[in-house]
Assembly symmetry: C2
Homo-oligomer: 390 residues x 2
């Protein structure tokens, strides 16, 4: 039983939205808005969290929330004065749209998910920055998940992104990811997915890659041109395309130049630091040392350099080394690490461009696209035995 606080009327009372947690009423008889006295003490009430809503703006201005909504969205058929009043009030009340409500209403969260195996090395961070540079201006923000090279965590990440109703997903899988069931969820739910760098077979989605085969080939070719003949490969996991392609580039370069392939010169590692150290030790403790090593990535190459140095092996004269990715540390270490630079920023941007294309496409059937970017050989001291031929 609500009584008008002004005239005492009981029957002509209508509800009129809720303000700051309190029900607001309107007395039709005396044209008066009021709220029911709160039962909570003022302090307690103050502690109650509340962020401004369009309803707050609406009742402050005595207009309907639809009008507020339209004004805020820049709808054209709205009175200029009304719009200004709304925008001013929104600013005054420090209004921030509730993205939860917005997402629920539009069935779109304007959020992209990005899953990376780690972000300790600067490889993925640079890609993420590139991704954000495209996503943010387009009105999307990004949830970053790191699987920490663990398949279980990766699966948990996909569930979180599903639950968050992201509009699209960008992913680079862990070294131990072989089955892709957890990614099929996105396809079943119609959520576009684009993979980059670390992909595995069996998923028909758009991809952004660098030409790993070509990069590896050129890296090994460079070693050959430096006079190396007994070239080892510290290889990556073979469930990942990166691992396979770079191994293939290595093999083909050897064959092309008529060098023999020795099985004991190919060792595999699982992308963890300890595994890299073990693999490097294995190569550097062979009865007959290799004269050079092509490592599948820079972190592995750097561990190799450290171990070689600790063993007193001279780089590059006794052992030349080439890595892959041009991590910032590869310029710091001595000697500098020869490596294949990847266009990280461009990878990040391209991934999100492909993703947004799919999200905003009206087409029923989307043909997955694959973008392949070029790598660039950066020659530093770790491989330089002869002056470079230009």
């Amino acid at each position: 039983m609500i009584k008008c606080v002004k005239c005492g009327e009981v029957d002509a009372i209508a509800k009129s939205g809720i303000i700051r947690g309190k029900q607001r009423f309107y007395c039709k008889r005396c044209d008066y808005y009021f709220t029911q006295p709160s039962l909570l003490s003022p302090e307690t009430h103050h502690h109650r969290r509340h962020q401004t809503t369009i309803m707050d703006i609406a009742s402050a201005l005595q207009i309907s929330k639809s009008t507020v909504s339209r004004a805020l969205q820049g709808h054209s058929d709205i009175n200029a004065n009304t719009r200004k009043a709304v925008l001013d009030m929104a600013h005054q009340l420090d209004y921030q749209p509730n993205l939860l409500a917005l997402g629920l209403a539009k069935s779109r969260s304007f959020t992209l998910g990005i899953i990376v195996p780690e972000f300790i090395n600067s490889f993925f961070p640079y890609i993420i920055i590139g991704a954000q540079q495209v996503a943010n201006p387009a009105g999307y923000h990004v949830i970053i998940c790191q699987s920490n090279e663990s398949l279980d965590t990766e699966i948990a990440n996909t569930n979180v992104l599903m639950a968050s109703r992201v509009d699209g997903v960008v992913a680079s899988v862990t070294a131990e990811t072989k089955s892709l069931d957890h990614f099929h969820k996105f396809q079943r739910a119609g959520i576009p997915l684009v993979m980059f760098n670390r992909i595995c077979d069996g998923l028909d989605v758009s991809k952004v890659l660098v030409d790993d085969y070509d990069g590896a080939y050129r890296g090994v070719e460079h070693l050959i041109q430096q006079g190396c003949t007994r070239i080892a490969h510290l290889a990556g996991p073979q469930n990942l395309q990166v691992g396979k392609q770079r191994l293939q580039g290595y093999l083909d370069a050897l064959r092309k130049y008529g060098l023999p392939v020795y099985d004991e010169l190919i060792v595999y590692y699982n992308l963890t630091k300890t595994s890299a150290q073990a693999a490097a030790r294995q190569l550097l403790e062979l009865p007959t040392l290799p004269d050079s090593i092509f490592a599948v990535n820079d972190p592995a190459a750097i561990e190799t350099i450290l171990i070689a140095k600790s063993k007193g092996i001279k780089i590059p004269s006794e052992l030349a080394i080439v890595g892959f990715s041009n991590e910032p540390t590869s310029a710091l270490i001595e000697p500098g690490l020869t490596t294949l630079a990847q266009p990280l920023d461009e990878i990040g941007k391209t991934v999100v461009q492909l993703l947004l294309h799919e999200i905003e496409s009206e087409d029923d059937v989307l043909v997955p696209r694959t973008e392949i970017l070029k790598t660039q050989l950066i020659v530093r001291g770790s491989s330089l035995r002869k002056p470079l031929v230009s």
Copy 2:
């Protein structure tokens, strides 16, 4: 005008939820559930995104969504068979709760925001990993924002987090952040905020810091013990407590040991790489060189080493260097960089623990807490002129 597809009845038709985008009906006369034939072609309809909801589970099982909701939450007063059926169906339909709806209904997003200036160096990534290790088990997930050392981006980040209705925020500000208006928003909205590492004055919130003063003091003391007397300081921005505290530790160590303070030996930088290089050059081009440099952090120390080496200055004999933070690169560079290690993992965990405490506190008034963690001096070649006294 809806007609029962079974008996043709028109009047006894009730709406019964919506399944996969289609309105579902119930004929009271013949006890038959049906959906209206879709006007869309099957393919188009299939393309329509849909993720399983409790309503889908409910109508698959012919029960109400309230029951499903309760079963899913593990409510006690629910029939064991019903619960099992619900859980099985949820699994079968690959149900993931809609966090947008959940957040809207409960006015809590179960999301924490974390703002860092950058994540190219591994300092912040390690802290983020520690933060996630506490947040995730507690049922929260984390939105990571990077301000890229830009105040404007930082302000935008705070707005995104406000709009996402995060339950709490963890932040480390940019080098150019002086005013804190954009953080006051969180306080006004009753959203707990905890700051770490980079804080500035004028915000009465909980904080997690390392003992910067003490670390700086011990770093400089170490240089003095190595026989250095003309010790320079490559200092950080003085709007940040880190910058001030480390400068103060430097000054007090000099005074304590009776060494003079030369103004020209204190140069400031704004935490960007180019600024670090400029500052290092300034010090290394003085008419009388310093015999050692205490840098406010490792990136600055490393730039200093590189420039010193390029100038042929011998480290540590002509120039000893001490950094701060124990970045992984400080172990790689030659000579190894002496530095003060910070417990990054612990910082991340502590920050989120404080934050969760505030979020879940029932108290009206929260007394901000400040946790100060210890640093550890790691001595490497960059400062080692004498054998260490144990």
